[in-house]
């Protein structure tokens, strides 16, 4: 579906990428070590390099709350916040307006634009799920980006369907009769892919080259794309602020956060660690899993490892099944 073959367009080297003007202004209130602003800035790097102007619809959440406290804004792009559960529906309206006005020759600009809906895992996996599913099914030309920090962090670490099993959250806390969340994380990119949309990818800011290649493909895709981005939350995960990218890296190296894409129905795992690390490496740097390291809970970690293996095998099977002959 790409307008131009993605391989013909190269993302410039990092040195050049850092020279583009920042479109997310500093001074916003995101926490030190937050992954979300890193994700947004990486998105901007690709968009700048490829000459796209971005128009954003942002679900209620950390990013929205921290970047637009009236009368200030960090956004040097057009940006709209509507509510928590409707970023995808909102961008549907913006994109429809664009198409209608373009047809009538009434657009204020002839610049290359792309529409992005941005939400956390709450606004994506849970409350915004219906709105997202509708927009993907209708095939609007937009990119949905989920910054997945695995709980409702804006309001104080409440569990979501993106929270991994046994993580400590304030609405399913660890206690004498509880080990935290009782269910495994929802496989959201797989769910997005089940809509049969042209492009789906899972990314991590630690693997920025992979991130940029994927975001480039999303930009060049005509129709809906879904990007699931790993977003560290030092506050909610009880991790060290300076270890964000390290934890993101460990999430990938342990296969906890597999990097993969689904391009026109073809599944591809884009990074396969030669020797995947055990999940403990990822868990032990985060206070939300602290209780799992107490004597007697060894089996719980094994259980998480098995879920990781199950998903990893499933993804690799999908890759195998959909490989081009």
């Amino acid at each position: 579906m790409a307008q131009v073959s993605a391989s013909e367009i190269k993302v410039p080297p990092l040195k050049k990428l850092t020279n583009y003007p920042e479109k997310l202004a500093p001074g916003h209130r995101l926490c030190a070590g937050c992954g979300a602003s890193i994700i947004i800035r990486q998105i901007y790097m690709v968009a700048n390099a490829l000459g796209y102007e971005l128009i954003w619809a942002n679900a209620t959440g950390c990013v929205e709350v921290c970047t637009t406290i009236y009368p200030y804004t960090s956004w040097r792009s057009p940006w709209i916040h509507n509510a928590f559960e409707n970023a995808a529906a909102t961008i549907s309206g913006v994109e429809a307006a664009y198409k209608a006005l373009k047809r009538k020759g009434k657009l204020p600009t002839d610049k290359k634009v792309k529409f992005i809906a941005l939400g956390g895992d709450g606004g994506t996996y849970d409350i915004g799920f219906q709105s997202l599913s509708g927009a993907l099914e209708r095939g609007h030309d937009f990119i949905y980006v989920c910054y997945d920090n695995e709980a409702y962090m804006n309001t104080g670490i409440q569990r979501s369907s993106a929270t991994p099993k046994y993580a400590n959250t304030t609405t399913q806390p660890v206690g004498s009769k509880s080990l935290g969340k009782e269910q495994h994380k929802k496989w959201m990119p797989e769910v997005a892919a089940a809509h049969g949309i042209p492009y789906v990818a899972q990314v991590s800011p630690s693997h920025w080259k992979d991130f940029m290649e994927k975001f480039k493909k999303a930009l060049l895709t005509e129709g809906p794309s879904y990007i699931n981005a790993f977003c560290v939350c030092p506050r909610g995960w009880r991790s060290k602020e300076e270890e964000g990218i390290l934890i993101a890296k460990l999430a990938v190296e342990t296969n906890y956060w597999p990097l993969f894409e689904v391009e026109n129905g073809r599944w591809r795992v884009t990074y396969k660690p030669k020797n995947p690390k055990p999940v403990e490496e990822f868990l032990k740097r985060q206070g939300r899993f602290k209780h799992l390291f107490k004597p007697g809970n060894e089996g719980r970690i094994q259980e998480l490892q098995e879920e990781i293996n199950r998903r990893w095998e499933w993804l690799n099977k999908m890759e195998e099944m959909t490989r081009e002959e």
Partner: protein, 401 residues
């Protein structure tokens, strides 16, 4: 480009839904996002036919819910396009959160509400509980008595919504089935004339203007939220003038008169009925009948419900020989006195320092018939009240009790 279908004023047998869809065709909005719900479904189907046959230039989004319908309209309107939708009853209830966002962001969206009862028990029939429940969400609210009024009100709506003094969304209500599905005579206006009357939209702060990026919908903390709300009140007060002006322009262009209220035989009336929607039409007929018996009854029909035309209502009452008033509500306000309209009329009296005996009538909930006899019964109670007799404060019409 869409073809011109109607070249001169044309008399047609149309239902309210057909008339509303026809108005939408002639307005030719940039974006329509809608979700079907009885009794609005037909309206959406008619409009979808127009889209399917190239009779409009509209970008049509068949969304997956009413919440998304209004959310998409917010996005489309913020992007500087003309956005419309339509819904009914539970659909409006599902939109409720986004209604306040549309008005709070000062987006000139226009919506038909085919008035329907709210669940539970589930009921698909006419009732104004839906719009009355949304009355504090900051929308301008107009109500129509018949199909032609729905058509005319929609044509006036964008001029009201987009005026720089208002910049507020408008919803136009018509009673489910009684208006939406009944065939009546409607005088359609020429396509060109409607296009000229509605005019080009005035685009302000478009989200598509990447050279002048604007942040829409930021967080307002305790230091600024109240000021936003205060400005909305100001805009609503301005809307009172704008609605009147646009009504005058409409009358000048097409010879059909629209004011905040319509009075019927109030000048010499001893008794005043105040009604919203289709039942006002029945009441006019009953008024003529009882006047033959020498009972002088007049009617105030509310067209503009928000902003509420307190002074228009009181001017009409005070210019009559009013001895008692009957207020008709097609919605409940559990735990409060009378219905919502009753409270508004009581406030209007208070503003003038007046006190007329008032009787509250709750009627037509969930599509319950309100026929000639029920209105006669109501008039009888108003007459008794004027005579100082004991009349219950709240009276249900056509209730099995």
């Amino acid at each position: 480009m869409k073809p011109e279908l109607i070249k001169e004023v044309t008399y047609v047998p149309y239902s309210g839904n057909m008339a509303a869809a026809e108005a939408m065709r002639q307005i030719n909005p940039d974006v329509v996002a809608a979700y079907p719900i009885t009794p609005q479904t037909e309206l959406m189907q008619f409009f979808a036919e127009f889209v399917a046959n190239g009779l409009v230039d509209t970008e049509y989004i068949p969304v997956e819910s009413e919440h998304s319908a209004m959310s998409a309209c917010v996005g489309a309107a913020a992007a500087g396009s003309r956005a419309m939708t339509a819904t009914a009853g539970p659909g409006l209830a599902y939109m409720w959160e986004v209604l306040g966002i549309a008005s709070g962001m000062r987006l000139p969206i226009v919506m038909t509400v085919v008035n329907r009862a709210l669940s539970a028990p589930i009921n698909i029939h006419g009732d104004q509980s839906d719009m009355m429940g949304a009355r504090d969400q900051g929308w301008i609210m107009l109500f129509s008595e018949n199909a032609e009024e729905q058509y005319d009100n929609l044509i006036q709506a964008f001029k009201i919504a987009e005026d720089e003094r208002t910049r507020l969304p408008v919803m136009v209500g018509m009673d489910g089935f009684v208006i939406s599905h009944s065939i009546e005579r409607v005088r359609l206006l020429p396509d060109k004339a409607v296009e000229e009357f509605v005019g080009e939209p005035k685009v302000m702060y478009s989200l598509l203007d990447v050279d002048n990026p604007i942040t829409h919908g930021p967080v307002a903390m305790t230091d600024s939220y109240m000021e936003f709300k205060r400005q909305q009140r100001e805009a609503m007060m301005e809307a009172y003038k704008v609605i009147r002006e646009v009504g005058e322009q409409f009358e000048e262009a097409f010879g059909r008169k629209y004011e905040h209220i319509e009075t019927y035989k109030t000048d010499d009336a001893d008794y005043i009925l105040i009604i919203i929607g289709s039942t006002a039409g029945t009441a006019k007929y009953v008024i003529d009948r009882v006047r033959e018996k020498g009972i002088k009854v007049g009617l105030i029909k509310i067209r503009t419900y928000r902003p509420f035309p307190y002074y228009d209502v009181m001017d009409a009452i005070e210019a009559s020989n009013c001895k008692a008033i009957g207020v008709f509500d097609r919605a409940e306000t559990f735990g409060a006195v009378g219905g919502p309209l009753y409270s508004d009329v009581a406030t209007a009296m208070h503003l003038r320092g007046k006190s007329y005996p008032m009787v509250s009538f709750i009627y037509g909930l969930g599509g319950r018939d309100t026929n000639v006899h029920h209105i006669e019964e109501a008039i009888d109670k108003v007459v008794q009240k004027a005579a100082g007799k004991e009349v219950p404060l709240i009276n249900y019409l056509n209730l099995n009790e």
